[in-house]
Amino acid sequence: MSKPAIEVKGLRKKFGNHVVLNGIDLSVPSGTVYALLGPNGAGKTTLIHILSTLVAADEGSVRVSGYDVVTDKLQVKQSISLTGQFAAVDDALTGEENLRMICRLSGLTALESRVRADELLQHFDLTGAAKKRVKTYSGGMRRRLDLAISLVTSRPVLFLDEPTTGLDTISRRALWEIILQLKEQGITVFLTTQYLEEADQLADKISVIADGRIVATGTPGELKARLGGEVIELYNEDENLIEAFPTTGSIQDISRALNELILKVPQETKVRIRKPSMDDVFLALTAKKSTQELEGAFS
């Protein structure tokens, strides 16, 4: 394997007294999709901003395509493309005008820009809306245009900050398709997401981030094995959720957990079993609850 597309070592960032990133290390091999999974406020966007030269870190080093984001800023900018959390498009311009503008800014001639814009509009299924102003676009169309703009010149590394937040299922799947195609073309994709399913579908490797720290890294398979399968939820008589308890999902583990729990909670306690959510992931990875702690919740 060649040198990693992104390499981060000992990264720290504070805003005032608030520690946003507290020692991040990660390495993304070229041509892979890497997902940073975490809740709001975990530091995902700040990390993307540092990787894409927008914000300077307090400590640590970042290399993108082998270039240092502080000393070789220009080379980094020539290697990357960023699609931010909010579609960065001009509402008053048409889709075509938006694309051509970025083409020109990227150094293409007027003629090349026209050809490239048409090509991208077609590929992202926006030809019909090309001459319409972006403010008339749906959320999915805006996202597709945003992504198309990021691909005006083929940069080896693409950053996507929560690419599908706020989209409906169909638009989300369409975007996933596009991201997987990009990977096939050899582009390294670094994306953030709040959705376990999204990371699972797209990523070769996932890092889970919480409170500015990476709490787990692995392939989707490895993580799922660690995060377990089903969650046991305990409810009191009034149907209020008392506690959620992660298990591996195997019949053995669920029965073991129930056997332990039955000794510690009131007999009227009701049980439901469901798929793990993001909350459970963080619970499982950050707070490591034990059955002993549970006893307190019912006393």
């Binding site: 311009l93 970025i102 800014l105 150094g107 010149t153």
Partner: protein, 262 residues
């Protein structure tokens, strides 16, 4: 679909500027309400001052000749104030992040807004002068004086546009930018734009005579209608140049600071 194009340097400065100027002009043209406001408001104010207040302020009916230079400046103020909103909008809606991760000098995005503001304002000024001529404005200026007046107007517009751009960069949101801009728009009323300063209470005269707008107005008025200019032209050029310089430097600093803070 991949057409690999290795890019090894910054996109040429003039291309970046041309693209951003084109963008801002397009945005201006499509923001019809703002464009109409920038043109119609000064025209209405001029008609108001000429027909409603004019008789009381100068019973000889000559007030239109006095007030037009002031209206031109007021109009420039209104027109450039929207630059603060435009710039603040760009800084908050995420598009600036895209520009800043591209190999370009992203401050050009502000230059684009400045040139668009200059264009809008000169257009509005032309309309104001046109309407003024039709309601009895009789300038005495020769071609050279017109040119000098135009130069002064351009300098004033650029100064205030850069100032508003800096305000737009400093403030957190378009609506805040619009609020701060509004305060500055009171300056023309505290000048010799509508009445001679010697009719004001003496403490106010001190303010009116020593703020940048009065010498600019007196210079334009002198050039267009032949009133004495005295040293006002130098004061006007001095004020504008210093403010312009401060505003541009302020923009550069504010742009950098915004960059590091997110």
């Amino acid at each position: 679909m991949t057409t690999h194009r290795p890019i090894t340097k910054l996109t040429p400065f003039w291309v970046t500027n041309a693209v951003f100027i084109g963008r801002s002009l397009r945005l201006s043209m499509r923001n019809t309400e703002a464009l109409l406001m920038a043109i119609l408001l000064p025209v209405m104010l001029m008609l108001l001052f000429t027909y409603v207040f004019g008789g009381a302020l100068d019973p000889s009916g000559n007030y239109v000749n006095y007030v037009v230079p002031g209206i031109i400046l007021l109009c420039a103020g209104f027109g450039s104030a929207s630059t603060a909103v435009d710039v603040a909008h760009d800084m908050t809606n995420g598009i600036i992040d895209r520009f800043r991760t591209m190999p370009i000098r992203s401050l050009s995005v502000v230059t684009g807004h400045v040139v668009a503001s200059l264009t809008r304002n000169l257009l509005a000024t032309a309309v104001v002068i046109g309407v003024a001529l039709s309601v009895g404005f009789r300038p005495s200026a020769n071609a050279l004086e017109w040119l000098a007046a135009l130069g002064m107007i351009v300098l004033f517009i650029l100064t205030f546009t850069w100032l508003f751009a800096a305000i737009g960069l400093m403030t957190g949101s378009p609506s805040a930018a619009s609020g701060y801009g509004f305060i500055l728009l009171f300056l023309p009323y505290l000048s010799s734009a509508f009445v001679q300063t010697n009719t004001m209470p003496s403490w106010l005269q001190g303010v009116a005579n020593h703020q940048p707008i009065t010498p600019v107005i007196e210079s334009i008025r002198g050039l267009l209608t032949g009133t004495p200019i005295q040293d006002n032209a130098w004061w006007a050029i001095g004020w504008c140049s210093i403010l312009l310089l401060i505003s541009i430097v302020w923009c550069l600093i504010a742009f950098q600071r915004k960059a590091g803070r997110r």
